[in-house]
């Protein structure tokens, strides 16, 4: 079954094309890592899947139904999103923020609170469930946002640079959590700038790596494919060196050669 399908999707704002003719299918249980330089249209692609950006051409389908036919709650049952930044101006307790992410369920307040607490515990944020989100550190806040996504219980998960601004231990931890969700059968699209973090998912060889440049698909390959380093080098215009460890594969920008 196809969980998410873009067919010839284009997004234009006046004369500027943000995305052009994107055709991409996410089958059930698959993992797509979306890579590309800044401004390539990665976030826009996720927003098109959520209906936050309307496709000006082509169509988006969620679980084989056109996005436009779904109402807001149905859409939220299919797809959840971890944005790059979350807004935290109101001193709302972490647990209440996560409980609010259960909006799509018709359930009691107590049920939402219970689900929220178990989502927070699952992402290792149980200790600060009672603290206001405004008082949390960047890493803690990211975990609360992660718990929101878990609590929504959608089967397709979209991550927009989930490890952005986190320290290395937190980055690895976030990718391990994503790997757990993947193994439970979720379908995932994850934007990242650091291809090496994919090693921490657990089954990185199965990851489909999709390159996006200037709003167009540049390439698609597997994480363990031999051509990945050269494709990424071309995508970013940066010479990369590969270190194959077992298990794992690491790509590092080459240092400038001696004159």
């Amino acid at each position: 079954m196809t969980d998410l399908e873009f067919s010839g999707v284009g997004v234009r704002i006046r004369e500027r094309a943000l995305l052009t003719d994107i055709t991409l299918r996410l089958e059930h249980g698959e993992f797509i890592a979306l890579l590309g330089p800044n401004g390539a249209g990665k976030s826009t692609l996720l927003k098109a899947a959520l209906g936050l950006r309307a496709a000006t051409s082509g169509s988006v389908r969620l679980a084989q139904r056109p996005l436009a036919e779904l109402n807001a709650r149905e859409r939220a049952a299919h797809v959840a999103w971890l944005p790059q930044h979350i807004h935290a101006d109101e001193p709302i307790r972490a647990q209440d923020s996560v409980a609010a992410a259960r909006f799509r369920f018709h359930e009691t307040h107590a049920a939402s609170q219970k689900a929220a607490l178990s989502a927070l515990e699952r992402v290792g944020a149980g200790a600060y469930s009672q603290r206001p989100v405004t008082e949390l550190s960047g890493g803690e806040r990211q975990r609360v946002a992660f718990a929101c996504l878990v609590a929504q219980e959608a089967h397709t998960l979209l991550f927009d640079e989930p490890a952005n601004h986190l320290d290395p231990a937190q980055q690895v931890e976030i990718y391990r959590l994503i790997g757990d969700l993947w193994r439970e059968g979720r379908s995932i699209v994850c934007i990242t700038h650091d291809v090496n973090l994919l090693n921490h998912l657990g089954d990185a060889a199965r990851v489909r790596v999709v390159g996006l440049r200037a709003g167009k698909l540049a390439f698609e390959t597997r994480f363990d494919a031999p051509e990945l380093p050269s494709q990424l080098s071309a995508l970013f215009g940066l010479e990369l060196r590969t270190f194959d460890a077992s298990p794992g594969r690491f790509l590092v920008p080459a240092t400038r050669s001696e004159p």
């Binding site: 049952a77 944005p83 101006d89 109101e90 609010a100 989100v133 929101c148």
Partner: protein, 314 residues
């Protein structure tokens, strides 16, 4: 936290009750008349208006994700002022079905201004910040028209307009209460039913959308029902400043921001705050009544500063 909430509710209700009995000593038949025909309805109007303004303020702050949003942010008050001014300048004496023409005109002005902004807000593409800008634009436009009308009206109309714009709880009797009750009741009930939607809004409008909130619909409903209540309140009492800004912040500082407590407690505290301010306005200068709008601003502003300073130190 539960204890604090209970204390706040208790204090609010005590103040509402006390307001009926504090004032000039009441004796005999005349005292009974003052109590039942003047004070009780006035406290009731104050309760309705204060509750409505405070709740609308809390809702707008949530909706626009802006702590400075007030019930006047979307142009409701400016529209009401323009309507009232038209009535005062051109057709003072008339009344419609026994209602003062000023009130009717202010209500029409308030609803028209809100509808202008709401029609913009319901568009799928509009962001909250765009709606805020639309509200400011409508406010400025209405104020410009109002200034124009003031320029051509006579001094009596000007004086009446100045008085109206200070904001006061009028002696409207039970008829006024009965007219205001359904408007405020519908507005408050509808807004409280949106609590869950608004709570999801707190981490950002786009995240709320992804979690299943129908954002344009929520915006239209919240804006519409809040404006309905505010229009009713402003039409009777004129623009009463600060209630919608201060009360939600006060509740937030005391009890945190969960909308399940913030919204209902803003409602109750708003009622007590306005009635309390009106009580103060009645008794502070013997033999004269100050407009309550002056008191809300004079008491409200420093207490907000004080509360914020205390919260920062903790």
């Amino acid at each position: 936290m539960k204890l604090r909430a209970a204390l706040l509710i208790l204090a609010s209700f005590s103040l509402l009750l006390a307001a009926i009995f504090v004032g000039h000593p009441l004796h005999g038949e005349q005292g009974q008349f003052i109590l039942w025909q003047l004070r009780v309805p006035r406290v009731l109007v104050g309760t309705l208006v204060g509750a409505t303004l405070a709740l609308a303020g809390a809702v707008f702050q949530a909706l626009f994700q802006n702590p400075l949003a007030t019930p006047s942010t979307v142009g409701t008050t400016a529209g009401a002022t323009l309507g009232a001014l038209c009535a005062l300048a051109f057709d003072r004496a008339r009344s419609v079905e026994g209602l003062p023409w000023v009130t009717v005109a202010a209500f029409i002005g308030a609803i028209t201004a809100s509808l202008l902004v709401a029609s913009f807000a319901s568009s799928r593409r509009a962001h909250s910040s765009d709606v805020l800008l639309a509200g400011i634009a409508v406010t400025l436009a209405a104020s410009a028209f109002a200034t124009g009308i003031q320029y051509v009206s006579d001094s009596r109309a000007l004086f009446a307009a100045a008085q109206w714009s200070l904001g006061q709880l009028p002696q409207v009797g039970y008829r006024g209460v009965l007219l205001l009750l359904p408007i405020c009741g519908v507005s408050a009930t509808a807004l409280l039913l949106l609590t869950r939607d608004l709570q999801a809004f707190a981490l950002g409008e786009e995240l709320a959308h992804s979690q299943g909130v129908n954002v344009p619909r929520l915006r239209l409903l919240a804006l519409g029902f809040a404006s309905l209540g505010v229009a009713g309140a402003v039409a009777w009492c004129g623009p009463i400043a600060f209630v919608g800004l201060i009360v939600p912040h006060l509740v937030r500082l005391l009890l945190g921001s969960s909308y399940r407590t913030l919204l209902p407690l803003s409602l109750i505290t708003g009622a007590a705050f306005l009635v309390g301010c009106d009580l103060f306005a009645r008794i502070v200068v013997p033999g004269r009544e100050l407009p309550v709008g002056i008191v809300t601003a004079a008491l409200g502003a420093p207490s907000l500063v004080l509360l914020v300073a205390r919260a920062r130190r903790r």
